[in-house]
Amino acid sequence: MDDLRRLLYQMADDELIIGHRCSEWLGLGPHIEEDIAFASIAQDEIGHATAFYRLLQELGEGDADELAFGRPAAARQNALFVERAHGEGSYLSNPNWDWAALLWRHFFYDEFDAARLTIAAQSSYQPLAQLAKKINREERYHRLHHQTWLKRLAQTAEGKRRLAAALPGVWAEVGGLFSMGEVTPSEFFPVTATSLWSVWATSVAPQLQAWGLLDLVASTAVASASVVAAGLSLQLPAPDQDGRLGHHTADLGALLATMSEVRNSAPGASW
């Protein structure tokens, strides 16, 4: 597989899996207006995944739906960060989930996605460059949404306590987003993990600072990490824990089983 296809799989799989996870919250949000607002973000992510799978389809990789639903976990190239279950229970019963963790996940992810899309918009592969430009416009609302909420929650003692409690679990795998797996910098995507981290950290750190959350995040970051940008250190995953290389958790296996349950009930059928 070439670098372009690998890159597109990374982007498509990230968007599909985070969109799927986000959709599990549908109808369970803490506030009705907010439930509606977050539901648009889930739709956007699935919509973006669809667009990336279509690019792969045009490159001869097969039907977009089949790429989304039919590939086993070992073929998936999303980061572990997006596949983790929200917590105990499921979307069907006793979802003992944490909205603070959801906000952190989406704030970090959408900042990452915007940074990645900004670079993809300069790709020599025109279909990708054009798509990235379009999609990145929609990230504006996502980022504004997460920013507004984090700022608001950080203003209350209970909100800050919840954010602090949720942070370590989310932060532990944030570095995995930046792994490029087997993709090497090229005309398709001309940057490395460390420079992508710099772009991200330079955007994230001042925001956290403004909300009084930077110390919290910086102290959660691992001391042994090799790359530090804007006070935030990057810890890339070990190769055998790198989702970009097809190493995944049981959470993804369970997610894929759920996602393909109906589709597999009548293989090859039209839905």
């Binding site: 919509g47 669809t50 999609i135 416009r137 929609e138």
Partner: protein, 106 residues
């Protein structure tokens, strides 16, 4: 309180209040009277709202990405389905197409 008041007119009970303009007025009560003469010299209405301009929070015209809607959203529109559905129904029974399909109108 003297200031600028934004004016919203409801033309009948089936319609929402719609912004029509603004007036300079000394108080909310003044603004209601002035709005009546500024905006309702001809058209009928059932209600006026006036809101001090300072109370209006707005998006920024210089940030068009706030409204970005770049992905295909036909999946959430009637038009994303009705043509294809109609073609499928045709296969079942031609006469069904003659049935009134607009549920809201009746």
């Amino acid at each position: 309180m003297f200031g600028i008041y934004q004016v919203f007119i409801q033309k009948d009970h089936a319609s929402p209040h719609v912004w029509v303009g603004s007036v300079d007025a000394g108080s909310p009560d003044d603004a209601l009277l002035l709005a009546r003469e500024s905006f309702l010299r001809r058209d009928p209405a059932v209600s006026i709202w006036v809101v001090r301009s300072e109370a209006v929070h707005a998006t920024d015209y210089s940030d068009p990405d706030f409204f970005a809607s770049e992905s295909d959203r036909t999946y959430r529109l009637l038009t994303g389905y009705n043509k294809q559905n109609a073609e499928r129904w045709r296969k079942y029974k031609k006469s069904l197409l003659d049935l009134e399909r607009d549920f809201v109108q009746d």
